[in-house]
Symmetry: C2
Subunit: 258 residues, 2 copies
């Protein structure tokens, strides 16, 4: 047993993002921190991994903390794979991803590089948490998030997590005194209604920017969206078994075989 | 009610891949086919979407079938969004993705662009199926897959799918007469044990190729891996609600709030 826990830190906004710097500052109070994070923003990369291209990795010094840091040319999921297999000489006790600049609540979890890193660690059998702040600004204020990051990370280190489960933690954009507490939630049903912005380039060719509007279809008080809109930090236990177990019996009634 | 169903087709291996050409050939027997697929391979892109870069889209003619085709510079998930929002003038009756060159069974579903497209369609409320053949070869033989693609697509068009569920169909690399039938399954527990191949570039800088070994941890006879290894086509109902509902009660026992 090691005295201090070994904490692997990553994100998808890139190693210089204020969100990961705030995360590292908190986690330095808890354990030995090793950072392996993308050298450039990888947002909305979902669970992408780099298999048809080379990966570069370099040690770096970004600030004066005690943490050890590496940048990687790949995605957040690549960073976790590289860390566990090439950089760390023992298994991390926990992997913490974030703090993401912007929400990963509800359906956003599907598109999230932050959560993809946490899921990748979970698949490797490492307890993992993704943290996100509901503020897309690069200059977002991460101070109110810090006590929640510390509390939830310490709880996971002490209690562990159920097998095959990682945590998706979202923090409302509020002053510390206005955050009411922490709620365990389910993922709210929602979708993005896309609105493509069609433009024409200087050569006369049409191109598109993907934009969209978040449409919440689910107002259950047990959802992450409800918690966040009502001033709570939401914690959703997330799994990488995508099987819709409830549908198996129904599908077995189909006449599949002659 | 339209006489023939409108079928949206996409993939992640790119619009010229033999797998999607085989899929289109089958679906032309069933309905009006519109193809919107990436102009280059997008494998292992997970559920990536393009938000920080422009998207191009062009009509193309790849072969002489009756289908209408477009290529897109984005990912498989981008293709579905563009199709539904910019190209199609009515909602497709079904979205079919594939046939992927290589397995998307078990944990591979997490990294799969093919399944990401199907999930994206599901989120949009469109019944969706991803098909994959367990053969990574570009020259794979898709003939034995065709009757299964046709049968399962027709069943989904007739019966619909449970809400929030899409199908992940994997087909073993066998002769038609050796495929025993179709089995509804759950996703087997497995992981990739990474082995990074470290090399040095001509400038003296180290780089890595991600390789790995698939490690199956789950030998349940109700899993997709068991079905495929025993000669069956596996059908896993997949959902995009990632909540580990079973873990909520357990986490509520934690002392989260003062």
């Amino acid at each position: 047993m090691h005295e201090k826990p070994l904490i692997l830190v990553t994100n998808d906004d890139g190693i210089t993002a204020p969100g990961i710097r705030a995360l590292i500052a908190v986690l330095n109070n808890i354990g030995d921190v090793v950072v392996v994070a993308p050298d450039s923003p990888q947002s909305a990369m979902g669970h992408a991994i780099t298999i048809n291209s080379t990966l570069y990795m370099s040690p770096v010094n970004i600030d004066e903390g005690p943490q050890i840091e590496y940048t990687c040319s790949g995605t957040a999921a690549d960073c976790v794979k590289l860390a566990v297999n090439q950089i760390l000489n023992r298994r991390p006790d926990i992997c913490v991803s974030g703090i993401n600049h912007g929400s990963n609540s509800s359906i956003n979890v599907i598109y999230s590089g932050t959560m993809s890193a946490a899921l990748e660690a979970g698949i490797e059998g490492i307890p993992a948490i993704g943290f996100s702040l509901l503020d897309y600004n690069w200059e977002a204020d991460f101070e109110p998030s810090k006590p929640f990051v510390e509390k939830i990370t310490r709880l996971v280190l002490e209690q562990g997590l159920p097998k095959s489960v990682v945590l998706n933690v979202n923090i409302p954009k509020l002053k510390k005194e206005d955050i009411k507490g922490i709620k365990i939630c389910r993922q709210a049903k929602a979708q993005w209604k896309e609105q493509f912005d069609k433009r024409t380039n200087p050569q006369g060719r049409d191109y598109y920017w993907l934009t969209g509007e978040f449409v919440l279809e689910d107002h259950g008080e047990d959802t992450d969206e409800w918690a966040l809109r009502n001033g709570y930090v939401s914690v959703v236990p997330v799994q990488y078994d995508l099987t819709a177990h409830f549908a198996i019996q129904h599908l077995n009634e189909w006449k599949l075989n002659p």
